[in-house]
């Protein structure tokens, strides 16, 4: 099984440690990982801003970079969602279809493709899970609170098997954090308010570390936590899963 590692542009530049944790984790799980070095971005920031047409070059490049792999795995639900749902702007060649079908968010890949939930990690902290919307409602990584389906959660399956980790329950299980890409600057006031409210929920429930499968939301929450000097850390779920004693 050949896996192409997709490191979203903002993780590449700003959070290399998340990329590193993802790569190491996948290797520990016995996966053969390749990193195509001419990758740029999935085009999501443009699509969400209304400039989908201008992102065609980026999307096409993505397909070029990843077409030869059995799976494409990335530590960011919203980017993977974009590949799966919005690459319909490209001509649907067999390559494009293959890339869209084989793109997986990291947790989903570990649980659904590798069939593992206990990967021997340990992390003795009180953790709050931020269920990012594009992963939750877009990729259906878990059941969402609006629907009346049976409960499931790919991320919880993984976190519940981490030694010492206490998963704290929140008052609002899956409310959006207000990041939303360019929303975070064009609707600055609401974005900030949403983020502050999310953080308060974690604070109220004794969370020490906020984690999630989409680092863009975590970047937004971290920005607020640091500015307001609040006693919570953020960590990508890959960093927690890659942590062993």
């Amino acid at each position: 099984m050949k896996v192409g590692l997709f490191i979203p542009c903002y993780i590449n530049q700003l959070y290399p440690k998340v990329g590193i944790a993802t790569l190491e984790l996948l290797e520990k799980l016995g996966v053969e990982v390749y990193y195509p070095s001419s990758q740029t971005c999935c085009g999501q920031p443009l699509g969400n801003s209304g400039y989908e047409d201008d992102s065609k070059g980026a999307c096409q490049l993505f397909v070029e970079n990843f077409k030869e792999y059995d799976y494409i795995v990335g530590p960011s639900g919203s980017c993977i969602y974009h590949v799966k749902h919005h690459f319909d702007i490209l001509e649907q060649t067999p390559e494009v279809i293959r890339v869209r079908n084989n793109a997986y968010e990291l947790c989903e890949f570990i649980v659904k493709v590798l069939g593992k939930t206990d990967i021997g990690a340990s992390f003795p902290y009180k953790v709050g899970l931020h269920k990012s919307c594009h992963g939750l409602r877009g990729l259906k990584l878990g059941s969402c609170s609006e629907r009346m389906d049976a409960h499931y959660s790919t991320e919880e399956d993984l976190l519940n098997n981490v030694k010492g980790l206490e998963l704290m329950s929140l008052n609002r299980k899956d409310e959006c954090c207000g990041f939303g890409g360019t929303f975070s600057v064009f609707e600055e006031a609401i974005s900030v308010k949403m983020g502050k409210d999310r953080i308060q929920d974690h604070l109220d429930n004794g969370v020490e570390v906020i984690t999630g499968a989409d680092h863009s939301c975590l970047m937004h929450l971290e920005g607020l936590l640091n500015r307001n000097k609040q006693p919570i850390r953020v960590m990508h779920i890959a960093e927690i899963l890659n942590n062993s004693l």
Binding site: Q39, A58, H134, R137, S184, F186, E187, K193, M194, H220
Partner: protein, 455 residues
């Protein structure tokens, strides 16, 4: 003013934002509990959405079937292609009857058509009899929510309003007292009414009858007391069969307020002896929306308001920030179809979190339609020059890995070495209340290259 500007103003009072958010979240949770209590909720949504899709594909036939059956029952049917026509038709009916005092129960359509100011300009008195509607009417404001029109007002604010308009005693916002006073006042209006105007929740093609849902019974009170009843409906309010009401009424009440059934689901089929019943069927831009492949399902909406209650942006920006008759997520996909330029900021007033689409009882893919509107808006509505150039250039760069990485590197360099006052300037909306990520020595690319070298 754009949505974000209005939302910024609303957010100046954080305590009020918190209150507004909690009030609506409470309704959302009530809805969750109610939906949990019946088996097959998701199946109900599937069926409802299927029926609505069928209606939209056969709208002409169902409307004509409805008209024929309604006429058989003695109801007079009128057709209006626009808001102006709708208003004129209603005025004509009222003028012929010499009606002066009109009671109205809640109808978003008459809001959309601006019926009240039109009738008032002709010298008629129109009183909104739904309590929430009544509050916004005397406050001279538009409703801020389609089910809870005065949700933006605290009970203390209502207290002051009633003191001014109804001469009530200060009560510190005692809901019982205030409601009673409003009821006393409205009772007289009902008794004096020459005509009653109501909306329509469902018009049933196979019977020619229609159903109006209220919690206060004010639609019935008006329609039964006045000699003339005029019901106004958009063309999309049709359902094929009476039997389908069992699906829609169950969904509507639970989605709207978390009640198992609306207190009054009133079925109107035929005028009382000696009374008149009219129906005005209105297009006003709906067929145009129907013609837009990507947006037609927005016409399935049954106006339950659940997408507003669940929307994290609506809850924190208030209904008035949308500056449209229908606010919130559904309004943000309907309004651009009416006036793309005026409403061009609305599809951007969302993180595309998708909560609305999952809560919607008729499964409208609201967040996907928001995304689609964005693509059209940047083409058809003039965009701020800088924003446009930045995004277009980014797109160009993203297709060129070498340049893209070079630029990413220099951006990182800037972020790391520029002085704080430059990074956190007025131009940086991110940094107003948030820190930027701390930048390290290497990006992932560089780390990976080094690692390969050392292997």
């Amino acid at each position: 003013m754009s949505h974000s500007e209005k939302a910024t103003i609303f957010n100046k009072n954080e305590a009020k934002v918190n209150w507004h958010d909690k009030a609506l979240w409470y309704v959302r949770e009530k809805r969750d509990n109610a939906a949990h209590k019946i088996k097959g909720w998701e199946e109900l949504r599937n069926v409802a959405s299927g029926i609505k899709a069928n209606v939209l594909s056969n709208l002409d036939n169902y409307l004509m079937e409805f008209e024929a059956n309604a006429q058989k029952n003695g109801i007079k049917v009128h057709w209006a292609s626009s808001a102006e026509e709708h208003n004129k038709i209603i005025y004509k009916i009222l003028a012929e009857k010499g009606a002066k005092n009109i009671v109205k129960s809640k109808s978003m359509l008459t809001e959309e058509c601006h019926l009240n100011p039109f009738l008032e300009s002709k010298g008629l008195e129109v009183v909104d009899t739904d309590l929430g509607e009544y509050i916004v009417q005397i406050a001279q404001e538009p409703p801020s929510h389609i089910v809870l029109p005065a949700i933006h007002k605290t009970k203390e604010e209502v207290d002051e309003l009633f003191q001014e308009h109804l001469g009530t005693k200060p009560s510190g916002g005692d809901p019982q007292y205030l409601t009673n006073e409003a009821r006393k006042h409205l009772r007289n209006k009902f008794l004096q009414a020459d005509a009653a105007i109501t909306g329509v929740n469902f018009a049933v093609a196979d019977t020619g009858g229609f159903v109006v849902c209220t919690n206060e019974g004010n639609a019935d009170m008006g329609a039964h007391l006045a000699p003339v009843h005029i019901a106004c409906m958009g063309i999309e309010k049709i359902i094929p069969k009476e039997a389908h009401l069992g699906i829609f009424l169950r969904l509507l009440a639970r989605s709207a307020t978390g009640q198992p059934i609306t207190t009054y689901s009133s079925h109107f089929n035929t005028p009382a002896p000696g009374a008149e019943m009219h129906i005005v069927i209105v297009d006003n831009g709906r067929t145009e929306q129907l013609s837009r492949e990507d947006f037609r399902s927005s016409l399935s909406c049954i106006r339950c308001g659940a997408c507003m209650n669940t929307c994290p942006i609506y809850r924190r920006s208030g209904g008035h920030s949308y500056d449209a008759t229908i606010p919130g997520p559904i309004g943000s996909i309907l309004s651009p179809g009416k006036d793309l330029t005026k409403h061009s900021s609305l599809p951007f007033a969302s993180t595309l979190c998708g909560s609305c689409s999952n809560v919607c009882p008729v499964k409208i893919n609201i967040h996907e339609q928001l995304y689609k509107w964005r693509q059209l808006i940047v083409k058809d509505v003039k965009q701020p020059f800088v924003k446009k150039v930045i995004l277009k250039t980014t797109g160009w760069l993203m297709a060129r890995p070498k340049l893209f990485n070079l630029l990413g590197g220099s951006a990182r360099f800037m972020l790391k070495h520029a002085p704080r006052f430059m990074v956190y300037s007025k131009l940086n909306a991110w940094g107003k209340e948030r820190e930027l990520p701390e930048v390290g020595k290497q990006n992932f690319n560089e780390w990976y290259k080094n690692r390969k070298k050392n292997e």
